[in-house]
Symmetry: C2
């Protein structure tokens, strides 16, 4: 059975996966780059970077993944669907290299990008989206890419097998929170926390019940 995996989803200490005020120029709103600075010091990001625990975790993002599912809020800022030229926030060669299924009420034809990424637009429930993504992944795992709302919905529906969250030691105060309404989530998972010299803490939820 293939797995549904979340990798390197960064949240603030107060639980926000993105800030307020998202726009075409501010993909994470007032959070800016602060949720992701820990990535920039790894050797995965740049030669000469650190090869420690942050690097080890971030390198789990791609192997074994055959498709990604993401929410409309990850694909673009509010209102992107009114811009027919919007092709996501990652330039011509997005870092997915697989089919990507964007959950949205505003579907459009698929967009084929460089490097193997094709964006497909689905108006579907989490379970329905998973069925489509599993078919496309051809036996590989599905990465659930975010944002916070989408991950929360899949967690609430019991659809996530592996969750890797990175707690960044800042307080954003506002934005979209990951953990709301997930009381008792830990019961079905083995939970492990690993703090890094960079200041972040990696928390993994690995499903034990089936």
């Amino acid at each position: 059975m293939t797995l549904v995996r979340v990798h390197s989803f960064a949240i603030s200490l107060d639980g926000y996966g993105t800030g307020e005020g998202q726009s075409a120029d501010a993909h994470f709103g007032h959070a800016g780059d602060r949720l992701h600075e820990w990535m920039f010091t790894t050797r995965w990001w740049q030669p000469g970077g650190s090869g420690g625990v942050d690097d080890a975790f971030i390198r789990q993002h791609d192997p074994g993944i055959g498709a990604e599912i993401m929410g409309a809020g990850k694909f673009g800022h509010p209102g992107w669907h009114e811009d027919p030229s919007w092709r996501g926030a990652w330039g011509p060669n997005p870092p997915f290299h697989t089919p990507v299924f964007v959950l949205t009420h505003h579907t459009r034809p698929p967009i084929e990008m460089e490097g193997g990424t094709t964006f497909h637009f689905l108006d579907a429930s989490p379970v329905e989206a998973l069925d489509v993504a599993r078919e496309a992944a051809q036996g590989k795992d599905i990465r659930l890419g975010g944002g916070a709302t989408t991950i929360r919905e899949f967690l609430a529906a019991g659809l996530v097998d592996h969750l890797h969250v990175v707690i960044v030691p800042i307080l954003l105060g506002r934005g979209v929170r990951l953990w709301d309404g997930l009381e008792g989530l830990e019961k079905d998972y083995q939970v492990e926390a690993t703090s890094s010299p960079s200041g972040v803490t990696h928390v993994t939820f690995t499903r034990t019940a089936s």
Copy 2:
């Protein structure tokens, strides 16, 4: 200058310092003992317990402290002030051994307990309460004991010098949250995270600005 310190204040991954449904028999509501089980395995709690990082942190609770300030919600469940026999949730010899100032709109005469703890009841702002507690602490530090609302108010007022929070890998889903309304708190502190083999993560905020 004496410091205002918070030690071993436990919160869930989703930020709750206590659960819902607090009563005389359930000091932390539906959270039960779950926020504090990490303490029970230390040698501070019991002979033969672990002497690792959890033990090291918990032993900072008492040294150098001359007085504690706590909120009404830590002293007792909602409605304790209507029970003239209520003497706190810790039995005849509470683990404070100093003057303790309980912030409440329902003041009553001081209660002298065994072991050096005396509960004083103050209807005062954070700054006013600190003045009183500093006087009583006779040159030693003030411990801010909680609950979440009280710590949040003191943090918002810029009155906390050292904050030690313990993130417990459970999701309570409801209760009283610590971090609300504290955007940018980290700017005035050095923040460090240390995860423990027990599963909890110790996060310390040490004031750098004055």
